[in-house]
Symmetry: C2
Subunit: 353 residues, 2 copies
């Protein structure tokens, strides 16, 4: 693992790292989340499947390979341009299954509601859950509801789990990544995190940015149908953003990863909002973007397959896996410079998903 | 459905039912939880599998029958005599799979931590998760961690999901219940809820009561190995207690259910604590008790199988399914009376699991 960058934590909240207490950034998907995982969780719970740290864990069910995934959602505000916590929860679960190469079989929905939450708000969220489920073609088949005392208006947390059936013959893992592989993304980055941040920090600002939250199982079906075995690895670029995925990929594959800044799709409005908030689009959470690592010879066909789907129209090749086994991710900047990409230490703003 | 008993709600907290806002009792597993489920959740998300309202939803995975379950845990305090929220979360998930007739394949662990939580507390909880997993022989294979701002010291919420493989040839559902069937339980009721309530409400009281939280997959294996097809239905008696399970069973099977108060195992200490708190042991949550409905001719063998397992030593036959199709649950009291058992309206105290 790289040395954590402690100088500038970007950690908001009352607690500081190193106090023996949990800080907000422990949940941010950055270096501190890794520290918690490696230092506290894995030593206690570790086993081969958990240690693989996949988006979805693979299980054997009497000869069928299953994927199991679970994610919590605490986004604030619970509604934002382009979606709400219900849509987010469904898309996140579907996408974790899909990037693992599994076809979703069903979801379970866990609600933790705050006393005093308006029933109308809950109804809105449930309508979103249902709509996103229909979009993905996946049903909520079970769930649970708990209520906790009134606090400060957060309203509700959602935890969703999903189970999927792995496609036979598809193996996806950082270990399958090879020098020469192309790194693809299905469209513009940063929109989700920026839309949420603007809604929270600058509600007076009118922006065209909308969350990209979308179920990607259809897009991934199209990709795998087209170039199946040529896909080495996929991951959705949520907490930690594209930077988080690329840095993890370099570390876990062991190869040098190069990203081309010029090729990474960022909307002008997103760059502008990121500049205004002092953020790097590379580090901002997405909820409808996958990074796919594909054999070089299949890259063009993979891009065509992605572009043929409505959620991949702006797909682009954004980088390459290099020959050097240094586990470093490097960015070639638009102005001809180079810099090492690091995982955000904490998160830029808490509770973005 | 029975008419809800609105006179005495036992609802604690700032909000009242009917205000258009969520109240604590919506999460209590009683009548208000049913109202939320039937009035708000099912109309939006409903589908055949969700509508079955099983502890675990059954899914088809290319010819294999899978069970998927998910539950949230918000128990307060997070540690109590006999266990903590980590043990509870694992046992609850294992038990939901096991009562569905499935063998657990793996679990996923979702943590929502409060900023400021002591890392040592998290470590304690994770140690409990690991220990309960070992006891059950089931691993945590995935998970997720989020952090929310400091509030009032609740500390942490857990949501666990589990997936299991259904035993071939075992069908469990209220529809399989028949007149004459015996109703069994594997031991003393009320210990969990009372231990938590005493720890919260009367921390100065020294009590021998300890939570019964335990993974029941081993006990259920023993039961199904012994009398397999003679088991019509099982459910763990958590929120809503034995009363909740029995009332649901009557409603959903359509038959008259009779419980014999004298036969229901209640410890003297539990009855005493319940009296002190003004509660009915029948309505108190358990985390290590299953209610099993078994064909009359197999009842003795089923009891023997349960008693041969350490978690079923005090197993007892507590009731019978009657010939009348009125969907009512009736209690024959110890002093020779009869009363209709109703589902608790809210919960007796909130956040017991």
């Amino acid at each position: 693992m790289t040395v954590p960058v402690h100088e500038s934590t970007g950690v908001l909240g009352a607690e500081r790292p190193g106090s023996g207490r949990i800080v907000l950034a422990h949940g941010g998907g950055g270096q501190l989340t890794d520290d918690l995982l490696m230092g506290t969780l894995l030593p206690r719970l570790g086993n081969a499947r958990l240690n693989a740290l996949l988006d979805a864990a693979m299980l054997d069910a009497d000869g069928r390979r299953l994927a199991l995934t679970l994610d919590g959602y605490v986004v604030k505000p619970w509604r934002f341009p382009g979606g709400d916590i219900g849509r987010l929860a469904v898309c996140g679960t579907i996408n974790d299954l899909a990037v693992s190469g599994a076809r979703p079989l069903g979801m379970a929905l866990g609600l933790i509601l705050e006393e005093g939450l308006e029933e109308a708000a809950l109804e809105t969220v449930l309508d979103s859950v249902a709509a996103a489920g229909r979009e993905a073609g996946v049903e909520v088949v079970g769930g649970d509801t708990k209520v906790v005392e009134h606090r400060n208006g957060d309203g509700l947390y959602i935890t969703t789990a999903g189970v999927g059936l792995a496609r036979p013959g598809i193996e996806l893992s950082p270990q399958r990544v090879q020098p020469g592989d192309a790194i693809l993304i299905n469209g513009f980055i940063g929109d989700h995190g920026l839309a949420v941040m603007l809604a929270r920090q600058m509600p007076q600002v009118q922006s065209v940015l909308r969350s990209d939250a979308a179920p990607l199982n259809g897009l991934i079906d199209a990709l795998l149908d087209a170039v199946g075995g040529a896909v080495a690895f996929m991951r959705d670029a949520t907490r930690g953003g594209l930077a988080g995925v690329a840095v993890d990929l370099a570390l876990r594959s062991g190869w040098h990863i190069t990203l081309e800044e010029e090729a990474i799709p960022v909307r002008g409005e997103a760059q502008h909002a990121a500049d205004m908030l002092g953020l790097d689009p590379l580090e901002i959470a997405n909820e409808g973007k996958i990074v796919a690592v594909v054999r070089a010879e299949a890259a063009e066909a993979a891009l065509q397959a992605m572009r043929s789907h409505p959620l991949g129209r702006d797909a682009a090749r954004i980088g390459t896996v290099g020959e050097v086994a240094d586990g470093i991710c490097e960015l070639h900047t638009s102005i001809g410079g180079r810099r090492v990409v690091q995982k955000p230490y904490g998160e830029q703003l808490p509770r973005i998903c």
